[in-house]
């Protein structure tokens, strides 16, 4: 008799419903999962990007794009976010370089002198440089793309970064011709941009170039200047100068024959980083140089080895 209930048939039904509700309720433990901030869709997009949730990032940037008129700075930021996500999302199969390129170019067209145009042009150059594994970049085209950024934004950080990447493509040939070109360009850059955030990087590249050119004294001096101009990130415990001290000391000792500089930097390593793994080797080096000098003095005095 469908729809007709007696008192006795209601009791078990009620009891079962009550039990089911209790069981269901007991399974509902409170959760405190903190969702990414959604107040600003651009912010939310970058939060998703950082967490590797690229579909959500695209959706958030799309929302931001739709919410603001093209003239609004947030619109450009959303475009840049979309371009970056399609360019660099993982897995690689999900990337859409064509779409990314289109967004970057759109930014450059809409706001050609903006910050984001500079970074977009750099991204377009990087698209040509960082090619899939197994492929070789077309270095002429890569350098031309970097030149475009440098020419349009010579004082912008993006332009300076492009300059460093461009010279690195020459230095990494390890051939004297391109390396000499890069060395000349780096000197000019250092003269023109003595306060650049990439000054230390430029000196380090110079040192690498001098290594290829077999000029250890200049290599050493460039390393010293790279250290002097190095920026420091105090929040990173792994960022320290011990590696730079070790490199300078060993170049000075074994390549430039400049024992005074070598001693200075081995000592700095020992004093400033007493727990560094290379401290024992630094002490050993100080003894070794004393020994070499003593041996050479004996030889010069006619005492033999």
């Amino acid at each position: 008799m469908r729809g007709h209930y007696t008192r006795t048939s209601l009791v078990p039904r009620f009891a079962l419903a009550l039990l089911a509700s209790m069981f269901a309720a007991s399974g509902c433990a409170p959760r405190h999962q903190a969702p990414p901030a959604e107040a600003n869709p651009v912010e939310a997009g970058w939060t998703h990007y950082r967490l590797g949730e690229f579909d959500s990032a695209v959706r958030a940037f799309d929302r931001a794009l739709a919410a603001k008129p093209p003239a609004d700075p947030q619109h450009l930021l959303a475009l840049y976010g979309l371009a970056t996500t399609w360019n660099l999302r993982t897995p690689l199969g999900d990337q859409d370089k064509t779409r990314a390129r289109h967004y970057y170019e759109d930014i450059v067209t809409r706001a050609p002198q903006s910050d984001l145009a500079a970074w977009s042009m750099l991204a377009l150059a990087r698209l040509q440089h960082v090619v899939p594994v197994g492929e070789e970049p077309d270095y002429e085209a890569v350098r031309a793309a970097y030149d475009a950024v440098i020419d349009r934004f010579p004082e912008h950080l993006a332009g300076q970064e492009a300059f460093i990447y461009r010279q690195a493509t020459l230095i990494q040939t390890l051939q004297t011709g391109p390396t000499s070109q890069a060395v000349t360009a780096l000197h000019a850059f250092i003269d023109r941009h003595p306060k650049s955030g990439f000054l230390s990087g430029a000196y380090s590249l110079l040192a690498s170039g001098y290594e290829t050119l077999h000029e250890p004294e200049h290599q050493l001096e460039a390393e010293l200047k790279a250290l002097d101009s190095m920026e420091f990130d105090p929040t990173n415990p792994k960022f320290e100068n011990s590696g730079a001290y070790w490199k300078i000391a060993t170049i000075a000792e074994f390549e430039a024959g400049d024992f005074a500089t070598a001693r200075r930097f081995y000592r700095r390593l020992m004093d400033e980083y007493p727990q560094d793994i290379r401290v024992f080797a630094a002490e050993e080096a100080l003894r070794r140089m004393d020994g070499v000098e003593a041996r050479l003095r004996r030889e010069m005095a006619g005492g033999g080895a």
């Binding site: 405190h32 950080l157 990494q172 000349t184 990087g201 077999h214 792994k238 430039a256 024959g257 024992f280």
Partner: protein
Amino acid sequence: MTRVAGFLKRYFAVLVVGTTYLWAVSAIVSYRAAEAPPGTITLRLGHWQLEASVRQALDELAADYSAQRVAQGLSPVKITQDAIPEMTYVQWLTTQLMGGTAPDMLEVGLGTMPYYLWLQYFNRYFIPLTREVNQPNPYNADTPLEGVPLRLTFKDGMREAYVEEMQEYMSVPLSQFGVRIFYNRNLLKRLTGLDAPPTDYRGFLAVCRQIKSAHDERGQPYAPIAGSKYHLGWWEGPMMDPLTYTVKDVADFNRDGFVDNGEQFVAIKTGRLDFHHPAVAARYRMLWELTEYFQVGFTGLSRDEALLLFAQERAVFMTTGTWEARSLLEQAEGYFDVGVMDYPMPSPDDPEYGAVMRGPNYERIGGGARFGITRSCAHPDIALDFLRFITSRAHNEKLNAIIGWIPSVRETQMPPFLRGFEPHLKGVYGNFNPGGLGGETAIKWMQIYAEYQIKRKTYDQVVESFEPFYKTRGMVDFMDTQKEWRRALHDNEQFLAGIRAQALRAEGDAAVSDWVKYRILTTNRQIWPEIFHTRQMKLVTGELALPDHGPYEYSERVLNKVRARLERRADTPAPITSLNPAPEP
């Protein structure tokens, strides 16, 4: 009556289930109420430390923490622990995190889960602590650490807690760990007449020989060393690998002080280094000599089997770490005295090892037992405060004294029986790893090395079988590592774009700091590696000539320069006038 009986008969099953359920609910509620009275804030803490002393120490410190809160008029805090076996910790942690039911604080960094997964979990499920660890720990008031940022109050500066890929501190370390050789004092005395073992390698071998020749009253022999596949690594790392330290003199091409797998391959492929290099040969000779004194079949035995041998007084020596020290002492109590000794390294005048053994082994200070705060934590501020409490100078010392571990915080004392674990902060380290290229090379090495460990192959046979393979097949694996590195370039691009976007959106000091980070990471990750790897590739393919001297060897040119300076009787070299792109005349 009949109606009641009928009712009971009819609904018996439902009533039993309902009553059981109500009983269970009331039992849980009353248990929870007794455990954490109303008004108490309960925090869960998950870890894989099953030793009783760890749970006891955390309970005791949690009680101290709650008491001091109550004294300040704050709500009491109850810390409940989920101690999960190491074997299942990763699965448990994964389901808890994904289900949104994870404890408020979790121990992180277990090696059985790949690092890239930890990275994803950190990103998604844990709260970054960077801002907080740069603030002083209030519980260090009136101590030498007062006003010092929390991260700098740790012996290792919280290096291990910093996740480079995220540029964030993600956890707080409670303790430090070290490894030494434990020995049975009574058995040593009985078998050799010695009160303490020799501290040098030759003396140690002689004692092992003496122990090996001894038998008990039933004619059973003793094993000088309780070994297993697990324990072998604790002999190789601290004692044998440091013998290969001088390999860097010929193979550290990028001058960072270490020989990585690529540099080692380049050095061997180009003939700058081979398996008969004195330092390399010495390392494997020592393995041959030492394993002579392990029990038979040790490579097939587990860690527990070696522990049992030691606990049953059938072996005199065994390597293990601070994590087992307390329980080992407890097991031995009433049976034998446990001693702790440092590794018996060869002396500088050792006829075979003296030339390559330059010093003691280096031990890096690193904070372990690290705890992070999950995003699902209902009271992250209190969880952080609790972590600050147990990592303050006094409480970290107390915590580790109860557990029997080494405190992670500076200016603390360690339990007396751990004094022998004081790390060597000056010393040498290994620079040779034949299986490091991975792929087929690693598999082949493991097969051949396993035969060497059980003395089925001599070292010459090992070299004869492996070195040609390493040079040929190694090239394929080397190229694969180059591809891996190229893939990393893509990952770096993704990561740097995130940092750049953060910097673009930041303002004031935060923007300055973000841009500094961005520039440093760009230079270090995207520019230098490319040059370095290109150099390696060109060296290995012969496109670039190897320098005629090793990175830590003097060339005749340098010696002449030093000679010239000494002749001028000047202490400093001729000044470098300017950086000029023109080559030196």
